[in-house]
Amino acid sequence: VCACVRESVCERERESVCECVREGVLFLSQSPEAACLSAEDISPSSNGPRDDDPDDLFAEATEEVSLDSPERQPILSDGPSPAITPVTPVMISPRVDDEDEEENRDTFDIQISVSDPEKVGDGMNAYMVYKVTTKTSLSIFSRDEVCVKRRFSDFLGLYSKLASKYMHMGYIVPPAPEKSIVGMTKVKVGKEDLSSVEFVEKRRSALERYLLRTVKHPALLKDPDVLQFLESSELPRAVSTQALSGAGILRMVNKAADAVNKMTIKMNESDAWFEEKQQQFENLDVQLRKLHASVESLVCHRKELSVNTASFAKSAAMLGNSEDHTALSRALSQLAEVEEKIDQLHQDQSYADFYLISELLGDYVRLITAVKGVFDQRMKAWAKWQDAQVMLQRKREAEAKLQYANKPDKLQQATDEIREWEGKVQQGERDFEQISKNIRREVGRFEKDRVKDFRVVIIKYLESLVHTQQQLIKYWEAFLPEAKAIA
């Protein structure tokens, strides 16, 4: 049985892997039994301790979905690269309730920095390596201070693992930064120009923000993959980075959600909160994108101003050089210097515009996509529950029919199946309630963090504005006597 969206959707039931998996749909919740297991049951294809428990209900599911197993190879090599890291059907039982969260916040003491980008290798095989430094007093870490080297695909790998583990439970997993073929090609080719330098800095900053957001999440902070990412000196390479971009994964997740939208039974929302919140996030998405575009225009003009100021400074310098009158010549040269300094201020301010405001808005546009994904996961969970109910009904009807036929062994099988599906229905309901609860909590946390993030940015931005003005005051005060000195 194909363990993708729903049994009835998959047309090729005979094949062990259906269309959906081949196209790379990120498979999330498999068998209903999975929800019961605790954190320690981890499939063999992920990091962490192996568990060969014969009662492992995952065994079957894992085998079917694991992309590493030999039977899969021929199928996978044909189609487009679906290489997602093997799905880990890990369910961390939601022990992190509100109290734990508050506790975590009080003792949240972890600093992460991403620094020292270094180019490794040559030509098109080259890549950048970043130093990730973690300083913390938290006990889950083995040391106070750790330094590791990571490349971009490692970050993507981390995100894909976290997304596959947590998104279907309704956790908002912060997305990793975007891939950029153009940006990276320039860097690989070895251009040491300003745009490659800017690109690397932009990426470094984005990676740092990504990690900080990830560890801010109380459940993710404790995740073994996260800990390994931050602490291990060696990290197994991510399987294939083609499909691993944050947006790529979210797209696949949302593709699954689209399938959900084509469902025949529309979900009737008993809880108005979800409907309202979804609408709010839709609106916010639109607004944030507009804001982001607006700020990008600001950044662009600021850069233009810097260019024009530099150009004017040069022309003033030339004018000063050609001027006979000594004091006027001097004043004009000073004017040119002042304008050059102002140009530098414009550049610095444009970095502030960009890194503080523009990137914040960009990050939130991406985060909202993750939030929307999580709401869709809830709809999926609901659909699965409903389908189980439908199935149960069918099984009951089948059993009823078999009552009148004289086939005792078939009857037994039917009865067994009924019990199986009763279990699935109960599990479906539990999963749905759990994800609903998780989403409420996650949204609350997201909204608090959002306000905090924006406040921090406003303060930093104001600080940069004040600094710029104070520098300007210095420059003008220095220039005034020069202008007055012209005889």
Binding site: L298, H301, K314, F454, I459, V466, Q469, W476
Partner: protein, 374 residues
């Protein structure tokens, strides 16, 4: 620099001349020009259109019986503004440069005002009756377009002369000419570059305005979380709005001082170029005249007449030369002074703006720090 000689003097104070208002009626701009009567507390106000300014300039050029007129560097009159609807800003910028910017023709009026002040302050030009009439007659100077000044008569010749390279009259003028050519080009470039800067500052102000408005659209009162976020967005909107006003101020400062100053400098350099050509032509004419007379007189072979003529020609030549030299000195000291004043004005305005906004941003910062620490 009031002139108090026995000759017909200007009846108003040069430094009191102001353009106090401008009204637009279709294509036509009407300027209100006010000035203070000398030795009296009475003020005068007249209304003029661009054509009246043009008439004044022509009158100045075509003054007769003014010895050494050819040596004078005439203050440059800004080009005519074409305010019709079909005239887009790009066209206006091409035509007028800096003078096209600023609200309600402020920069343009300032430039015209400056022109009048310069003419009134010129020791020779201020005596021109046309100027007095321009400034105090309630009726406009009339449609006297018949009289063409030197400039018009020789305008074509001017262009010809500039293209050819002629041996200069004097080494002094040769030197001056080289410097002038260089400075004219450089100040034109500097003016254009500053114009680019001001345009970009205005674009930035606009972009900030849009961004601030968009932030307002994020306001949402649905629930407590939305309200909290809305407050933050509104705060950011206020900050960006302040940045908007900041840029507008900075652009306006650039425009009203340095922009105007560089534009004036640029046009003065051009005026000097024209002056050089006029000078060369005048000298050339004298040369030709000498040759002509010489040929005629040679037939009559009246040596005394020839000598007398030669002396007269030399006298005229020397007069032009001395006026020209004086003009150059005056020109240079005046332009240095003008630039100095504009640079000081510019610096002071920008300094004040920087202080004002440093204060404003600090207040916002203080307020935010207090609010968010709760």
């Amino acid at each position: 620099m009031e002139v108090s000689s026995a000759e017909a003097a200007l009846s108003v104070s040069a430094s009191s001349i102001r353009i106090t208002d401008v009204t637009q009626d279709g294509d036509v701009l009407t300027f209100a020009i006010a000035s203070q009567k000398l030795n009296s507390s009475a003020g005068v106000c007249v209304f003029r259109i661009y054509e009246d300014f043009d008439w004044l300039q022509q009158s100045l050029f075509s003054q007769e019986n003014l010895p050494g007129l050819q040596g004078i560097i005439f203050p440059p009159l800004p080009s005519k503004a074409l305010p019709s609807q079909s005239n887009t800003q790009t066209k206006a910028l091409k035509q007028l440069g800096f003078l096209a910017l600023g609200q309600d023709w402020q920069s343009y009026c300032k430039a015209l005002e400056f022109y009048l002040q310069q003419v009134a302050a010129h020791p020779t030009l201020c005596k021109c009756k046309a100027l007095d009439s321009f400034l105090i007659n309630s009726e406009s100077p009339g449609k006297q377009r018949g009289r063409k000044g030197i400039f018009n008569r020789l305008s074509q010749a001017v262009e010809e002369m500039r293209k050819e390279s002629h041996k200069d009259v004097d080494n002094f003028f040769q030197n001056e000419r080289n410097k002038n050519t260089n400075l004219a080009a450089l100040s034109k470039v500097a003016t254009e570059k500053l114009l680019d800067v001001v345009m970009t500052e205005q674009k930035l102000a606009l972009a900030c305005g849009h961004f601030a408005t968009s932030l307002h659209l994020c306001v949402n009162q649905d629930d407590a979380a939305a309200v909290a976020f809305s407050k933050v967005c509104l705060k950011l909107s206020d900050v960006i709005e302040a940045v908007n006003r900041n840029f507008e101020k900075v652009a306006s400062n650039d425009l009203s001082t340095l922009g105007l100053g560089l534009d004036l400098e640029s046009r003065y350099q051009e005026a000097e170029k024209v002056w050089e050509c006029v000078l060369m032509i005048a000298c050339k004419l004298i040369e030709l005249e000498t040759v002509k007379k010489g040929t005629e007189k040679a037939k009559a072979s009246k040596r005394e007449v020839m000598e007398a003529f030669q002396k007269a020609v030399e006298k005229e030549f020397n007069l032009i030369s001395s006026v020209a030299k004086q003009e150059i000195e005056r020109f240079h000291s005046s332009r240095v002074n003008v630039l100095k004043n504009f640079l000081i004005g510019w610096c002071e305005l920008q300094l004040n703006t920087a202080k004002e906004f440093a204060e404003l941003y600090s207040q916002h910062l203080e307020a935010c720090r207090n609010m968010y620490s709760e």
